[in-house]
Structures are given as C-alpha cells and as structure tokens.
C-alpha cells in the first residue's frame, strides 16, 4: 500500500525474492490484490488518507475475510485492533487481536538496532531496526509472539502473527536480510 512511507523498500525486498509487487493506493487497486503490505511511515497520516479516500472499510473487510497482510511499524499499529493513547480521530484497519503502544521506545534519539531471536525464520538472529517503534501492550491468546526484546527490564513483543496477518514493530525492509519477507510469502500466505 503506497499512501505514505517506505513502500518502495518493501517492493525491493519482494523483488529480491522474485515476486513482483504493485504499488496500490486507490480502492480499485486495493480490491484486486492477493495480499497487502502496510509499510513503515507515519500511522496517523496513513490512517487519515485511508479514511478520506474511503479505503478504511474496504481494507478492514478484506483483512477480516482472510486476505494476508504484513505490516511493519506504522503497519503494525494499523493492523492492531486498538491503540493505547491514539492521536485524535486515528482509525485502524484491525485484524490482530492486540493493543499496541505508539512510539513506545521513545523519540528518535532512542531509536535503535538490535539482534532479535526469531526462531520462526531460523537460528541466526535477525537485525531489527526500530524507529520510533511501537510495541505490543496486550494480546489475545490466539496471537502468536514471534520475537520480543527487553526494554526497561520487561520483555516486549515486537513481532506477532495471527492467522494470515503478520506484523513487526521493526523494519525488515531496511536491512538486506529477506528472511521475514520470505516467511510472509511462504508461511503466512502459503504462496
């Protein structure tokens, strides 16, 4: 979805895996896709644009009816069912039965990279790039936690999956490591 954010980096990631994605930003384009990636960006901006162009209900309905979706950072926020302290009139697409906290790790000076234990994609750690990143505050039992990181002495969930929806608080599209995109294609979408 190409309303705002680093959608081209996701496109490049899938190109490395020999999948040609499309940049979509209208209702007719979005109604045709097999799976939707919601990129990193500013979640309030994406949400407001989606609302003013009538995409909000369309995307919510498609996700609810089983279309695979993958969200990173802002995308994780938009795929959650609720937000702690949302910005005024901020809507979400929903899909994962969890509540996320925006900018949970702090402002940009607290943005960081760290190695993550992400067993679903293999033994080798995944380098997570966290930029004003959210974390998962609460989640339902159906939500599978794929990776977490310690912050202030507490383990925070930063990669989750519920059925055909995958979300990470960090940005796999900003590293050259394509294992999470590959996981989405092969495990979540079932190709």
């Amino acid at each position: 979805m190409a309303l705002q954010g680093d959608f081209r980096e996701h496109l490049l990631a899938f190109q490395d895996l020999e999948i040609e994605g499309n940049l979509v930003k209208t209702a007719s384009e979005i109604s045709k896709v097999d799976a939707l990636v919601i990129p990193g960006g500013e979640s309030t901006t994406i949400s407001k644009l989606a609302k003013s162009f009538g995409l909000l209900d369309l995307i919510s309905e498609r996700i609810a009816s089983g279309m695979p979706a993958f969200g990173t950072c802002a995308g994780m926020i938009l795929l959650s069912n609720s937000i702690v302290d949302p910005a005024s009139s901020q809507d979400v697409f929903g899909g994962i039965d969890m509540q996320v906290r925006r900018n949970a790790f702090g402002r940009q000076t607290e943005s960081f990279e760290a190695d993550l234990d992400f067993q679903a994609i293999g033994e080798e750690p995944f380098r997570g790039v966290f930029i004003r990143a959210p974390w998962v505050e609460k989640f339902a039992p159906e939500v599978e936690i794929l990776a977490s990181i310690e912050s202030g002495g507490i383990q925070r969930s930063v990669a989750v999956r519920q059925g055909s929806i995958l979300a990470t608080a960090f940005h796999p599209e900003l590293t050259g490591d394509r294992r999470i995109h590959n996981y989405f294609l092969n495990e979540v979408c079932g190709k």
Partner: protein, 299 residues
C-alpha cells in the same frame, strides 16, 4: 531473548531510516501548539517547530536563531507525530541543546542567520539525525559527508514562489543522471568538479540516487506545487509559510497532503485544489535582491 546491551542507537541506518518513514509525506512549519494540531489533523508526517515562518523572517529582518526550548517542548507535548527544529548553519551548540530536548530531527537551515560562514556542523557527533538544504548535487554530497541523514532541496523559503525549488530539484536530478552515464575513470574529475568526496560520487553513479532521502522545500504553496515536486522526483515536501500564511490553513494543509500522495492523479489534485481560499500572497524570487536570497547560504 535479546538484551538491551546489544542495542545500538544513532547508527546511520537508524538516522536515515527515520527519513525513509517520512517519504511521500508533508512536513509543515508551525509556530505554536494550535498550528501543530492543525498540521497533525491534516495528516502531516512531521512538524517543524519554529518561532517565525520564513515569510515573517524575511519581512521582519534581524538575526534569526533557534527557537525557545519551551516553545518546542509545548509542541512536542501537543502532538504524537515527529517534531523537528532548526539550528543556524554551523551552530553546533544550538544542536546540542536540541539534542537534549529529544527533538526527532534537526534542520541545519539557511532560513536562520548562519553562525559560521565556512563550516557546517559535524553531524556525525550527534545521535539525533540532521536534514540539510542543497541547491545542487555537490552541496548535497558535502552535507551527507558531514553526516546529514536527509537532504532537502532549498528553493527560496518564505516566497510562495516555487521556481527555485524546481530549479534545485531539476539540477540535483540532472547531475545524478549525468553521473550514471559516466565511465568509471571520469568519476574522479566529476568528484573534483562537484567538490564532493569520490566515494559518495561513485555510490551515486552506481545507484542512480542519493544515499539518503531527498525532500524538497522553499516556495511550495499549493497542492499543484506539491504534485509537481513529487513528479520531479522529490521523496516528499516541506511546506513552510505556504500553509499558515494562507486563508484556510486546515483545508490547505489537508489538500497538500492529498496532492503529495496522489501526485500523479491530476483529477485528485484538481479536487484538492478547489475552494482553498486565498493562497499566500508571496513574493517573486526575481524581486528579491541577491544578498537577501536564503538559498545562497551554505558552502
């Protein structure tokens, strides 16, 4: 489980990545909490907190400096989107202050009165990322070599005249395209001519783009201006005086956000352009005597 002590803050990837998240968006100049909220509600990806917008700096004259920390903190408290703030060119102590305030990005800006007519800030010394202005590729690469994590073409701030933004975007884009057509041995002379480090020149020649995000700024006042800049290859736009020096700021702000996203769909840009009220009156760049042109600040 990962431990916090393996983490790294302020890496180039984290700094440049922050700018990647702003792409396709509009960053708006705001001078108070009320304007910041209007910008956030309109869908701005970030706000630039400053005491006077460029049009007022131009009208009132005098020395223009970093904003009062109290004013910046009030805006940080009022909105959840990123907050940027400006420092004078070369004024590293102002940048140190902004770093303690935890603003999300620092703009080392020609809009303020320069503090150093020879050196820019060594931006590698900071955890916080910097955006810098450029009128051409050489200037952009010099700023990147000093640690800038984002570039904006300068345009001529505070005018509402988009012509210089166009010139600078075309110039940067044209110089990048020229590099991509060169033979490897020709890049050494190109680096000399651009007055930029060879390694960066080579990187641009190979990738066909800057190694950081390129926004545009200076004189953008309408949805059509924003759409044109995006079609010329900008990753996003800064709008300074153009919004809050116009009639209906909230409506114009939302319209510019829509035009920046749907820049290639003229029908949407046309709809966004309807009934916006009076645009900023502005001043033609040609009517500004050369010593008062801000774009010429930066070395």
């Amino acid at each position: 489980m990962s431990k916090a002590n393996e983490t790294e803050v302020g890496s180039a990837r984290v700094k440049r990545g922050m700018a990647e998240m702003l792409k396709g968006g509009v960053i708006m100049d705001v001078v108070n909490v009320e304007q910041a909220k209007i910008a956030e509600d309109a869908g701005a990806v970030a706000v630039m907190a400053l005491e006077r917008v460029p049009a007022d700096i131009r009208a009132q004259g005098g020395v223009s400096r970093m904003s009062d920390p109290d004013m910046i903190e009030k805006i940080q408290a009022a909105v959840s989107i990123p907050v940027m703030a400006k420092v004078r060119i070369g004024h590293f102590a102002e940048a140190q202050i902004l770093e303690t305030l935890n603003v999300d990005y620092i703009d080392e800006s020609e809009v303020l009165t320069p503090a150093d007519y020879e050196h820019h800030i060594n931006k590698w010394n900071f955890t916080i990322p910097f955006v810098c202005g450029a009128t051409n590729l050489g200037e952009a690469l010099r700023r990147i070599s000093e640690g800038a994590a984002m570039i904006r073409s300068k345009g001529e701030a505070g005018t509402g005249d988009v012509s210089n933004a166009t010139t600078h975007m075309r110039k940067i884009g044209g110089e990048i395209r020229r590099l991509t057509s060169m033979r490897e041995e020709e890049l050494y002379v190109a680096a000399k001519e651009l007055q930029a480090p060879y390694a960066l020149v080579k990187e641009v020649a190979e990738s066909g783009k800057l190694p950081v995000v390129l926004f545009t700024a200076g004189g953008i006042a309408t949805p059509a201006d924003a759409a044109m800049m995006m079609q010329l290859g900008a990753d996003g736009v800064f709008i300074g005086s153009g919004i809050f020096k116009s009639g209906d700021a909230a409506k114009r702000a939302a319209a510019c956000v829509k035009a920046t996203t749907y820049y290639s769909d003229a029908k949407i840009v046309a709809d966004a352009s309807r009934g916006l009220g009076e645009a900023m009156v502005g001043i033609s760049v040609a009517d500004i005597p050369a010593p008062h042109r801000l774009a010429e600040r930066g070395w």
